[in-house]
């Protein structure tokens, strides 16, 4: 009886496995795919998704403002928003311990947190990554330089994917043939790509956020300390300080890379993990991984916001203040 029960479950898992339902491919792409062009700008699925998230956030903001009342008995919605804003404000204040700085940093930190967490969670929604659209075709004229380059190299190894089989074989072909085939595939035959992709699973988005964070760190530093802020980068007082200054400059660039790749890596890896788990066994098994991704999405948003806040706060403190605080602690 038990064996029969397990047999039914295993059969169901077998049937629901996408590989046995005719879908042979597992779509994993490290970069976002273009879905349409907008005035010459290639709109990728991640940009499209982030635009939807931004639209929802802005729409919610307008809706909230229209319902907002100065009262001691707020509505459930207002209460919820007040709770989130207050929690984030207290979080910022716990780091800065200064009301003026808190009011300056809070909008940025709160927006970082909300923008990142929503984009992270959008990637977990059903349909994201599975609803496909035709990829924006590449103009044949764009391939002319590639064809011109190809004439000098006669033979290359070509990858061929056989239908119904995942085995990849290699054939010899001329570069012209390969380029022509790629052009045919890209220009003529439609390639389907997901219409939605979590924005934080695209390096361009995380890089944009990282650049904003690091750029604003410099802005806050200069606005609080004036030109003396740059003393930590350029210091000729002694060779050690000069070397430390060089390290500080490198550190600023490393911050951008660290911010961008940490967020991108975590969210993209989570998406791949979910895709693989769903591909292998579609029922029940992915559930714990979804729970894990919900946690990771929150933690990554918090880590990005907290690190940005700490860097903003450190940039506004003079060397004297820092050493005073260290001594106090």
């Amino acid at each position: 009886m038990l064996a029969k029960k397990y047999g039914v479950v295993l059969f169901a898992l077998y049937i629901y496995n996408p590989r046995h339902m005719g879908n042979q491919s597992l779509h994993v792409s490290i970069s976002a795919e273009s879905i349409f062009n907008f005035f010459g700008l290639s709109i990728t699925n991640s940009i499209f998704t982030s635009l939807i998230v931004s639209f929802l956030l802005i729409s919610f903001a307008f809706f909230f403002r229209s319902k907002f009342k100065i009262t001691d008995k707020p509505s459930k919605l207002q209460n919820f928003v007040e709770m989130i804003v207050e929690a984030l404000y207290n979080f910022v204040y716990s780091i800065t311990e200064n009301t003026k700085k808190t009011l300056l940093f809070f909008p940025l930190i709160a927006t970082f947190f909300l923008f990142i967490i929503l984009n992270n969670y959008v990637g977990l929604l059903p349909g994201v990554g599975s609803i496909l659209t035709k990829e924006e075709s590449i103009e044949v004229a764009d391939l002319a330089p590639q064809q011109a380059m190809a004439s000098s190299s006669p033979v290359v190894e070509k990858e061929v994917v056989l239908p119904g089989d995942e085995t990849v074989t290699h054939e010899s072909a001329t570069v012209e043939e390969v380029v022509a085939e790629e052009a045919g595939a890209e220009a003529g035959h439609a390639k389907f790509v997901p219409i939605f992709r979590a924005a934080t699973a695209d390096l361009n988005t995380t890089l944009a956020l990282a650049i904003i964070s690091v750029f604003l760190t410099q802005v806050f530093g200069v606005s609080h300390l004036g030109l003396s802020y740059f003393k930590k980068f350029i210091d000729f007082s002694n060779p050690i300080n000069f070397f430390v200054g060089m390290l500080e400059i490198i550190l600023e660039f490393a911050k951008v890379i660290s911010f961008a790749f940490r967020l991108f890596g975590n969210i993209f890896a989570g998406e791949v993990l979910l895709a693989v788990m769903t591909y292998l066994i579609a029922i029940a098994v992915p559930a714990p991984f979804y729970a894990l991704e919900i946690f990771v999405g929150f933690i990554q948003a918090l880590v990005f916001s907290m690190l940005s806040l700490i860097f903003f706060n450190l940039a506004t403190k003079s060397h004297h203040e820092e050493s005073h605080e260290l001594a106090k602690n």
Binding site: S42, F68, I70, E82, P107, D202, T205, A208, I211
Partner: protein, 161 residues
């Protein structure tokens, strides 16, 4: 994985728009509301603290007044007790002296009454004795014998008392 500068700038603008919208539509009004509420709560707390302080002061005044009143009452009680004791003592002494005086008066009256009674008894006894003696003797008794008999009888009566 390609880095596209146009997409990066686009995402920066996108983020900037979200930041501006959230700042002006949510953060500013909500923070202002929270700040006003915090101030009101702080004011109320301050007012409550002032009221508590006032209450404490009033409690102190009350305790002081009570202790003063208690001391005054105690003092009054002591004085009254003292006065009452003195009055009682005086009354007792007066009563005692009155009783003593009355006792003396009663004693003297009693003595006087006793004397009078004795005198009247003496004459009655004299008469009775004379009558008895005359009947016993069958003759009249002269005054000398009569006096002697009376005296003997009286002496006997007095001794018997």
């Amino acid at each position: 994985m390609e880095i596209n500068l146009a997409q990066i700038i686009f995402q920066m603008i996108n983020f900037g728009m979200v930041l501006a919208a959230l700042t002006y539509l949510i953060y500013k009004p909500v923070l202002k509301l929270l700040e006003d509420r915090r101030k009101r709560v702080a004011d109320a707390a301050e007012a409550a603290a002032a009221v508590m302080k006032e209450k404490e002061n009033l409690e102190k005044v009350k305790e002081k007044t009570l202790s003063e009143a208690s001391a005054k009452a105690k003092k009054m009680e002591d004085e009254i007790r003292k006065e009452a004791k003195a009055d009682a003592k005086l009354l007792l002494e007066e009563s005692k002296s009155e009783i003593t005086a009355k006792e003396a008066k009663f004693s003297s009256e009693l003595a006087k009454l006793k004397k009078e009674e004795l005198k009247s008894m003496e004459s009655e006894v004299k008469k009775a004795a004379l009558t008895i003696a005359e009947k016993v003797l069958g003759s009249s008794i002269d005054a000398k014998k009569h006096q002697k008999l009376i005296d003997d009888q009286i002496n006997e009566i007095i001794e018997s008392l």
